[in-house]
Symmetry: C2
Subunit: 411 residues, 2 copies
């Protein structure tokens, strides 16, 4: 086989075989196939596409480039994946809900980069919370608490990591088969028996339209099903932040509020996703699962579960006593109006650049930095209403970003 | 400017600006833009195309990446370019014809690679012929003989050299704007005032169809015209070798035969191209130019010109006394038939791999190796007719390739 011929085939819109795709991925990981071969092929895939079979072969080749976790000794496990958004603290609440309902989860998460936050950063705002835990210890924790939340191991789907870094700099991220195979190779490597996908669309999400989000979700469900997993998906829009808070500690606190029963869009999405996880694990209807979900929230079982898990992983429980942060600056409405549009992406970027997220992976984050919002799209606002609370390093930083934050709302 | 955004634009079928194209080329030559950025962009260009303006900007950016020759002190000069073929020794004959008619040429040529021969290799089959000559010495020779035939300088269109090597290994050669800008950047750097393009199509040429050859020719004429050059083109087919001989010394000898008046397809193409060169230089019609061409051939002026030029550049005149080579093996027709198809590409490849050309640029060539053919497409052949004479290293090599050579003819 020759990589130049494989690139040529895809550039002529021909289908690649399983063997050709495996040759590409294994050669790329070994280094016998160079970055410039890979980027040419990725561009050909972005422009000419891949069918479902090719996408499945690519996913499997990437999956097999690294370690694949075997969770069989802890019984049936479920995983949830979100394509990422702003003020999306679903995971932290969902894991406790599922565990409280007897559904086991080994939740592997990442850190924030750019405009999206990362669950690992949010968890670390419980002071002392450990996210680097050996797999045997994870199994112990799951047997004890029903779940465990840790950093994704670096040796899963190695090819995906190398390819993603290349895609990021060669404008080849936006491709359904490449996105689907990237996500699914990591999810399949994590070893769960069932996977629920949370695919977002809108101006704060990677997918801009609902139809493209559905297409991506269905492609990933197809891959997971072929790999023998139980699959489901949920589509929700990111034309506004999911919750009200943006920033690590603020979002973690909002997860505590959700588990305490605070209603709203974040509550709705979290409980729907949890119901899907439970339905798959228990072979019951989503409706039945939702009743279980509502019960563990209203009876505070899920909130107590979060406390148990945080304590088991070495984290401080201080945040459960209340949010001990003060805003440096508040922004009020200058006139009456109706909230017509929110630049979600920009809001995420601003908070990230204030120090809540990273520009590059080696940056450190400040858990206390963030932003509180108070309104959802379509709400009527009166002059003088509080629009934002800025939690910055200091008042000067808050002032510096205040106009840009204000500009993210269109009335 | 950011290369990732430029790649993204082209991947979305958007037009690149002059500044973006210049940023890409200068960054790529400096090394601030990597091979993997370039190959992704090249693939996007291959698949999404470039319009005439973009192609002109790309040509200019590559042209300006190296030295541009200034031939103004030797007066009006003409250049000819062929897209390459098998048994195409046009250049060696054409330069003498033009020089004999008072049309000046600084002919820069390359070496053979793969299935196509190179004029420089052919010229070196005149023992002692020098092809590496300093530019001032070239001017002297042109003033004396009207022409000079030398190796293309390595410092012309530097970006094109670097890009071409990358295209070759990333399946991005087949792209009209990339082919056109590659050829034209080198031609414009060579400094001639008029350029005649010989664009070939067919199974022995890069362009497979006549319409694609015409498209490429017109695109290059557009670029040259925009750059202020007088332009013309000629389309001819490569479904059979242009002449009868393949291999360096054999082809050089065929050029001598053409200048001695031997008619056929190679004579036809050579005289048509020479007429176009002369017509552009003298502002006369092609018909008038053709009369001049036929005169310098019939009166042996052009043949004498070749002797003068070979002698001036240090070459032996021995070949003018006759071809001193003997075939190692002859192939005869096994039955009656009509020559229906010739696998020209394959014939070129076989002769190349026998040692007449290079697999990589550092290989050496054997000037004596080659093949003589005796028929053109459509000719009736009788059992026992001589089909090929093989000029190999030895009889064993000739025997080894004889069946493959025979298979290139379909009756």
């Amino acid at each position: 086989m020759e990589i130049t011929k494989i690139i040529d085939k895809k550039s002529k819109k021909q289908k690649l075989s399983k063997e050709e795709i495996e040759y590409f991925i294994s050669g790329y990981v070994k280094g016998t196939i160079t970055d410039y071969h890979a980027s040419a092929l990725l561009m050909a895939i972005k422009l000419n596409g891949m069918n479902k079979d090719e996408t499945f072969y690519l996913t499997n080749a990437m999956l097999n480039s690294g370690k694949v976790l075997d969770l069989s000794n802890i019984g049936f496990t479920v995983d949830k994946h979100s394509t990422g958004g702003v003020s999306d603290t679903t995971t932290i609440a969902l894991v406790q809900i599922c565990a409280s309902c007897g559904v086991k989860m080994l939740k592997l998460s990442g850190r924030g980069l750019g405009f999206t936050g990362g669950t690992i950063d949010k968890l670390e705002s419980f002071e002392g919370f450990k996210t680097e835990i050996a797999i045997d210890k994870c199994f112990e924790l799951i047997n004890k608490n029903g779940a465990c939340m840790v950093s994704a191991s670096k040796d899963l789907a190695i090819a995906d990591k190398k390819l993603y870094a290349l895609r990021d700099t060669t404008a080849t991220v936006e491709s359904l088969p490449l996105i689907a195979s990237s996500i699914m190779s990591k999810k399949l490597a994590s070893g769960a028996d069932a996977i629920v996908l949370d695919v977002k669309y809108g101006n704060g999400a990677f997918m801009k339209t609902k139809s493209s989000a559905i297409k991506l979700a269905k492609l990933m469900v197809d891959i997971g099903t072929k790999a023998g997993k139980k699959m489901d998906y949920y589509i929700d829009n990111m034309n506004e932040p999911l919750g009200y808070n943006i920033g690590n500690k603020l979002e973690t606190y909002e997860a505590i509020e959700i588990l305490s029963g605070k209603k709203g869009k974040l509550y709705e999405v979290t409980t729907r996703l949890a119901s899907k996880c439970i339905a798959l694990a228990k072979n019951i209807s989503e409706k039945e699962a939702l009743l279980e979900v509502e019960k563990v929230i209203s009876e505070n079982t899920a909130l107590e579960k979060l406390k148990d898990i945080v304590a088991s992983q070495g984290g401080s429980l201080e945040l459960f006593d209340g949010l001990n942060l003060k805003p440096n600056y508040k922004i009020f409405a200058e006139k009456d109006g109706k909230l017509k549009k929110i630049n979600v992406n920009k809001l995420g970027e601003i908070v990230g650049s204030m120090g809540a997220s990273r520009q590059k992976l080696t940056d450190t984050v400040n858990y206390d930095i963030g932003l509180k919002t108070f309104h959802k799209l379509g709400e009527k606002i009166k002059k003088g209403d509080l629009l934002f609370e800025i939690y910055a390093k200091n008042r000067a930083q808050a002032l510096k970003f205040s106009q840009a934050i204000r500009d993210c709302y269109t009335f």
